[in-house]
Assembly symmetry: C2
Homo-oligomer: 246 residues x 2
């Protein structure tokens, strides 16, 4: 994921209409005339270095963020120190929606690599989406999509076994890389085995073993964080044909 854009004066001038992520991001599906009106929406860009927080649980909620470059994880810390990764986000995806309900962020957003986000003041978003119908609809769709995604994760955590979970994870990553113009079969994971494990409700050793097993079976080739999918059909078969459970 080296989707950085050459830094020119044009790209520094914040403008959704000029951004190459329109088909992935908030403006997706909006009319051109409507997208032009978004240019006042993105107040600024913000760079976040690897391992740094975009926001933390407890921070007052003021803005949502669209990922312009890089990638993030979101997680929740339990009182006793346990961590649950609730999602991995890539370019064009939105962060911060959790904060609307209580006007306080309820999770942490941490950059997995040096990244950049577009800052969208929530008050401005509300205001503008009262006038621009397409924006209102798109924003609602973005939130709804997040709910549907979460249900998918609940299904994964609640009813799949370790290898099915990892297969589902890899297929999901592949599909999202593809949507961003990268290879469906070869990509670089930005998160550690431990983070994958936390997301999938598994220990890092189990994740590692499942990677090795997939490799032995010729489904993928693993070299640290670099993944090559050799048999996508085989991976899909894994999640449809359950080894029995639930």
């Amino acid at each position: 994921m080296k989707a950085t854009v050459p830094i020119t004066v044009a790209s520094l001038k914040v403008a959704c209409s000029q951004c190459n992520l329109v088909e992935l991001c908030l403006p997706f599906g909006m009319a051109e005339s409507e997208i032009d009106r978004l240019d006042e929406l993105v107040g600024a860009r913000r760079k976040i270095k690897r391992q740094q927080n975009l926001y933390r649980a407890g921070d007052p909620f003021e803005a949502i963020y669209a990922i312009r470059a890089g990638s993030f994880k979101t997680d929740v810390l339990l009182e006793d120190g346990r961590e649950q990764v609730t999602g991995f986000q890539m370019t064009g995806e939105m962060l911060g929606l959790d904060g609307i309900s209580t006007e306080t962020h309820s999770c942490n957003a941490i950059a997995l690599e040096d990244s950049e986000v577009c800052v969208i003041a929530y008050s401005k978003l509300e205001e503008l989406s009262r006038v621009v119908e397409g924006l209102q609809l798109q924003f609602h769709k973005v939130m709804s999509r997040e709910i549907v995604r979460d249900h998918g994760v609940m299904t994964l955590l609640g009813s799949m076994r370790a290898e099915e979970r990892l297969a589902a994870f890899l297929l999901n990553m592949s599909q999202r890389f593809t949507a961003r113009g990268f290879s469906p079969a070869e990509f670089h994971l930005r998160m550690t085995r431990e983070e994958i494990g936390s997301y999938l409700g598994l220990k890092l050793e189990t994740v590692s073993r499942a990677f090795s097993k997939f490799q032995d079976e010729g489904l993928i080739a693993v070299q640290q964080k670099h993944i090559r999918i050799l048999d996508i059909i085989g991976l899909k078969r894994l999640i449809q044909h359950p080894s029995p459970r639930s």
Copy 2:
């Protein structure tokens, strides 16, 4: 949960401003003058008998629903027949938000008892929330709250053990009954052990054993679906002091 309302002419006339669920439902937090304007929003009420679907995965999305009486579960069916319950909903809570993103419902909503919902045409909601600021904000908060809730479930499924999960579930139910004016300590579950298990990512036998264990330890008294919480502190301690994992 016998929260049925006497059927009078007044209650049949659909009116959020007259509804005793305002503090739980969509209008929560809106100004009185704003709430009056909602009366055009709720087109109709709809009664759903126990075990019947309010909507099914794949149905075209047209409306969201506010539960006026009764309770529901939502679930997702995997190709291979496995079921994952994604939530239990009580009076004042909203159903159908999953449908916005693809204009098609992505889960099933099934009544756990004879129930009644207010039907809110989505097109009308969009229209009205462009004019009534409080409605826009409230609707966004409702969606955001759902996202936060889902993160909570992911945490539960991803990093808690069986007894912690059940304790968290009971405390959550207690808290929601309390918010509805029922006893915090004594309530009637409307779902089966199997549905609880599906929601918590456990088998029904495990749920049953955990109930029995809690009873042996004097934390609760169980009689089928009737639950009495005897030691709420003890239950809370269970989820804070983890038996080690993750």
